[in-house]
């Protein structure tokens, strides 16, 4: 804590909360089917640009909050979020050298993984309705990534 020199902790907490809210905001049906996991996008961003600000703990907490909020099995989104965070953190130095558009590919991959984990746990815990649209969501998320990243970039000073 004391050694955090300008780590954007508040920005991390605030934007994660915002991502959570956007993700659960009641919207028209046609939007909700393609709405990507905004929380995962925020998690990816902070894992790349400020891996020490939130660490693994912040994504875990945010995922847990999402689970409680949506009434899912506790730990479902938390597991997905920390997996995404971990992968992004391990590759963050390479990713920082890429352009936002190049990063989109990576974002697509991890969002798909995120969705896959959630889907798998849903299947395990007994929800097994087919929802083919959910595989579109990572693609939408990847397309939105440059904008999200630019917006989030304004919340802290990039080193």
């Amino acid at each position: 804590m004391n050694m955090s020199r300008g780590e954007p902790r508040w920005a991390v907490s605030f934007t994660l909360l915002l991502g959570l809210i956007i993700q659960v905001l009641p919207l028209p049906d046609w939007i909700t089917v393609v709405r990507p996991s905004f929380m995962a996008l925020v998690v990816v961003y902070w894992s790349i640009y400020a891996p020490h600000a939130g660490g693994i703990f912040a994504p875990f907490l945010a995922g847990l909050a999402l689970d409680v909020f949506k009434g899912n099995v506790l730990g479902q989104n938390a597991l997905a979020a920390i997996t995404v965070a971990y992968i992004a953190m391990s590759l963050h130095q390479r990713l920082r050298n890429q352009t936002l558009v190049q990063q989109s590919l990576f974002v697509f991959a991890v969002l798909t993984l995120n969705e896959f984990i959630v889907w798998g746990i849903e299947g395990w815990s007994g929800h097994s309705a087919p929802a083919p649209w959910r595989w579109i969501q990572p693609m939408v998320g990847a397309m939105l990534w440059p904008f999200v990243a630019l917006l989030l970039g304004r919340t802290h000073s990039r080193s």
Binding site: M3, G55, G71, G75, H127
Partner: protein, 368 residues
């Protein structure tokens, strides 16, 4: 937040456990949480508190649509309001016509059943709740309602609207409760065809306008337009609440079972208000309780502690009850069909499609 972000500048290096180790620990923690949450137990208590913690957030998230509705309502034109008043007035008149003879019919029913007095209504108490959030997706059909444990709402409490059954309480917090709709793909509801008395189970489909009845044999009497009511089995819903209307019956001679589709009478995705109901314990139409169903040899004394309030006193010997006798102490005679939120695949229930009467009759009464 972010207590664990250490000051080291390189991932995996420096002091403290590396990200990999931390990731591993949290992953294990999530998996443990999932297992415990699945099996219930102490996590339920934790969730009760967590529900309260996220409740303000849920309210906040819902506030834009609530504000929009409020705005719409406040700027409703006089004509629109007048129109609504007219509709409501018409509805009221129709309802009055329907209920006009109810008192007479109740007395008549009591006489037919050989009772000394009229049974009170099965619904003892009700509570109006306001819908905060609606989630209708293929995976989950849920409502969030602004009543919870503090208002006396309990788990698997029946929830209805003016039109019919809407669902049951799935999870409660102190100030809010989550309701699983009858159309949720995980929900199964024991129902009965009002006209013919056929009992079966209505499964949710994940679409808010459709129910399925997959366990009805080919030759059973179900027609398009039939009204389905709750059968009083399954320990949750009292007997006789309207549920759905049959919209399609497919009989394929090659299949042993007919495929029947129904549409819920309640508008599960658009209703803004719901009713929590408390049924009168021991009432013949009340859902059979678990302990009552578990009774092995029927005892001679008037049965449960949560015993009958209705006027007719329970017969002292329930087992020897005459066919026409009503015994409020002994609840619905059949074995419980699956308690609803557990998606066990239910066995097709095939009782004789004769008696819509939920009261015990001698043929079905537990053997002495």
């Amino acid at each position: 937040m972010a207590v664990f972000g250490s000051g080291s500048s390189r991932i995996g290096g420096g002091r403290g456990p590396s990200f990999g180790v931390r990731f591993f620990c949290y992953a294990i923690l999530s998996v443990v949480l999932m297992f415990y949450d699945r099996s219930g137990g102490w996590l339920d208590t934790a969730r009760y508190g967590l529900q309260a913690a996220v409740y303000p957030l849920q309210l906040a998230v819902n506030s834009p649509s609530a504000a929009w509705r409020w705005l719409q309502e406040s700027f409703a034109t006089r004509e629109a309001l007048q129109k609504e008043v007219d509709t409501l007035r018409n509805q009221l008149r129709d309802q009055q016509l329907i209920t006009m003879r109810q008192a007479a019919l109740q007395t008549e029913n009591a006489t037919l059943r050989g009772l000394n007095g009229v049974l009170p209504e099965v619904i003892e108490k009700r509570l109006v709740g306001e819908v905060i959030n609606v989630e209708v997706s293929a995976l989950r059909q849920r409502l969030l309602v602004n009543r919870g444990g503090n208002s006396g709402v309990y788990r698997s409490q029946p929830v209805i609207t003016g039109e019919g059954v809407i669902g049951q309480v799935f999870r409660i917090g102190p100030f809010s409760s989550e309701i699983i709709l009858i159309t949720d793909a995980e929900h199964a509801l024991p129902v009965q065809v009002l006209r013919s008395g056929v009992r079966t189970i209505a499964l949710g489909t994940g679409r808010s306008t459709a129910l399925e009845l997959p366990y009805v044999p080919q030759n059973y009497d179900v027609k398009v337009g039939d009204v389905l009511v709750t059968s009083g089995l399954g320990q949750v819903f009292p007997y006789g609440l309207p549920v759905a209307r049959v919209t399609r019956v497919e009989r394929d001679p090659a299949q042993p079972l007919a495929q029947i589709h129904a549409v819920p009478l309640a508008h599960v995705d658009s209703d803004r208000e719901v009713l929590f109901i408390w049924e009168r314990p021991g009432h013949p139409a009340a859902p059979a309780t678990a302990e009552a169903l578990a009774v092995t040899p029927p005892k001679t004394e008037a049965t449960q502690p949560a015993a009958p309030k209705p006027k007719p006193k329970p017969a002292t010997k329930p087992a020897a009850a005459k066919p026409a006798d009503i015994n409020p102490g002994t609840p619905g005679p059949e074995a419980a069909s699956p308690a609803t939120p557990n998606p066990e695949k239910p066995v097709p229930e095939t009782p004789p499609p004769a008696a819509p009467d939920p009261g015990p009759s001698t043929t079905e009464a537990p053997a002495t």
